[in-house]
Structures are given as structure tokens and as C-alpha cells.
């Protein structure tokens, strides 16, 4: 079974935030801990200049990072993002957006990650680093 099919073991249904962003998994490697996710840069995410507002790009980067870290910590723990540092390299138009992420360091209490966002033409448009804590699950996550 490809790793990507295991997404439903951990996340039976997409979270509302993922649905809003148009989350669609393209690839997942649970040995190398890398993933590639497609998002939908919707017209309602535009800023005054007509490009996708940077915060929504950060939301796509965060969604990819959170998903990959969640696949790692499941089923007994959930990751929480402590910080997210995003650099915006070029503006992104409405349309398909892709994010590639990897877990660079996996510790007992923390996970450190990197993610890159590509525009519809495959150009690198934003980059994030994030750190996440690993928290034991107290209650089943609500869907």
C-alpha cells in the first residue's frame, strides 16, 4: 500500500482548514518523511495587488507541515506548531499551488521541519521553517 493511502488511518476526513485550502495529497514517503501536497489558490485569498495574500500561503505551508508531522506522531500524540517563519520569494497568482515538506529533525519532544511552496509554473515562491511540539492525545480529535 502506498504511504499516501495511509492518510485516512490518521485523518479519516480532511479538517475544515484543509478543505478550505483545497488540500490534495500528491506524494508521501513515511521513511524519508517527505510529502508533496496540492492546494487551490482561490480568488477569495487575493490581496489588494490581486495576488494570493501571504498569510494564506503560510496557511498552505502550515497545513502541509502539520499533516506530515501528524502522520509521524499518530496515533498517540498530536503535533502543535510553536513557530512558523515564512519568507516570501515571489508573488503567487490565483491557481494551483504545490507545497513540498520534510521533517528535518525528529526528537522525542520536538519536530523541526522545512517546506517550500511552488506556483502554478513550478517556480519557488515561498519557504517556511517551523518547529512543533509533540503532545500526547488526551481526547480523540473532533472532526
Amino acid at each position: 500500500m502506498p504511504d499516501a493511502a495511509r492518510i485516512t488511518d490518521v485523518f479519516p476526513e480532511p479538517s475544515p482548514s484543509s478543505s478550505t485550502l483545497g488540500f490534495e495529497i500528491l506524494a508521501l514517503d513515511m521513511k524519508a518523511w517527505t510529502t508533496r501536497v496540492r492546494f487551490d489558490g482561490k480568488p477569495e485569498f487575493r490581496n489588494p495587488a490581486g495576488y494570493i495574500q501571504g498569510g494564506f500561503l503560510a496557511a498552505m505551508l502550515d497545513d502541509t507541515i502539520g499533516f506530515l508531522a501528524g502522520m509521524k506522531t499518530a496515533p498517540n500524540a498530536l503535533p502543535s506548531t510553536v513557530d512558523l517563519h515564512t519568507t516570501f520569494l515571489r508573488p503567487v497568482r490565483v491557481g494551483v499551488v504545490e507545497v513540498a515538506a520534510r521533517l528535518s529533525n525528529i526528537g522525542r519532544a520536538m519536530i523541526f521541519t522545512q517546506a517550500t511552496l511552488y506556483d502554478a509554473r513550478g517556480k519557488e515562491a515561498a519557504r517556511s521553517t517551523a518547529s512543533l511540539t509533540i503532545n500526547p492525545v488526551q481526547a480523540k480529535p473532533t472532526l
Binding site: 479538517s15 485569498f45 495574500q53 501571504g54 516570501f88 480529535p141
Partner: protein
């Protein structure tokens, strides 16, 4: 520069799609300090698996406060391009009104430096951001 009034510039009708989607509303501002207070309304569509607002959407709210802080400090309309945005998430945010206070700490010749704090309805500090942005004049409106 008496020409720039945030109350008439940042109207609900003139809001671009992204802030409109986030429920953006100007609550208060101080032009001398380059300070703004903006209200947001998280939607159910922004929630993550934990039932909290996904951090990226909080980042979007912080981003949509930092830009206006730069315009208020500059006292004129500008085109703002965020260079980087670093967010710390201090506590989860549920559904309910959110307010963000942003300040333009320094308006350089081409780069503006900003800081913002995000509060939930109970007044708890939930997220913090620092950012740098490049800015340029709106063509034909340099002296507005």
C-alpha cells in the same frame, strides 16, 4: 498629510478578497504611532483537527494587520510586499471574535518593520508576529 483617513480608506466595500474572507474590520488606529487595531471573525472553515483555528489562518490575520499599520504610519496608500513573517503560537484560538494590534516599528526608505499581537475574545494573547516588508508608492498617488 490630512488627505489620508484610514476610516474612509479601509472601508468594508473597498476591502480586498483576503481580508473580507477573514472578517476584517478596522476598530481603532493611531497615525502618529503607526498603530492599528483590527477585528477578525474566524469561520468554521478555518478549524484544524483539534477544533482550533489553524495557525496559518492566524498568520493571515496577523499579515492583514501589519500591512495597514504601514499605511497608517506612512499616512498614505502604499503597495506593500511582505518579505518575511515569523509567527509564534502561544495558545490555541477557538471560534469567536479575534482582535489583532499591529504597529509599524520603523518605516525605512524602502523596507518597513512591523510587529503584531493576536488576542482571543477573552483578551488572551494567543499569537505574535514580527515581519519585514518592502513598499512602493501607488502610481499617481505618491502625494495623496
Amino acid at each position: 498629510m490630512d488627505g489620508f483617513d484610514p476610516r474612509t480608506f479601509f472601508t468594508d466595500e473597498a476591502a480586498p478578497p483576503a481580508p473580507k474572507h477573514l472578517g476584517w474590520k478596522l476598530i481603532d488606529f493611531d497615525m502618529d504611532k503607526g498603530w492599528v487595531k483590527i477585528g477578525f471573525k474566524p469561520r468554521e472553515a478555518f478549524l484544524n483537527f483539534g477544533g482550533s483555528v489553524q495557525g496559518g489562518f492566524l498568520t493571515a490575520m496577523l499579515d492583514d494587520t501589519l500591512g495597514p499599520a504601514i499605511l497608517v504610519k506612512a499616512k498614505r496608500p502604499l503597495i506593500v510586499h511582505t518579505i518575511d513573517l515569523h509567527t509564534h503560537f502561544l495558545r490555541p484560538v477557538g471560534l469567536g471574535d479575534v482582535t489583532v494590534e499591529g504597529v509599524c516599528t520603523k518605516l525605512g526608505r524602502s523596507v518597513a518593520y512591523t510587529e503584531a499581537k493576536l488576542f482571543d475574545g477573552a483578551g488572551n494573547l494567543c499569537a505574535r508576529a514580527t515581519s519585514s516588508a518592502m513598499y512602493s508608492e501607488v502610481s499617481g498617488a505618491a502625494n495623496a
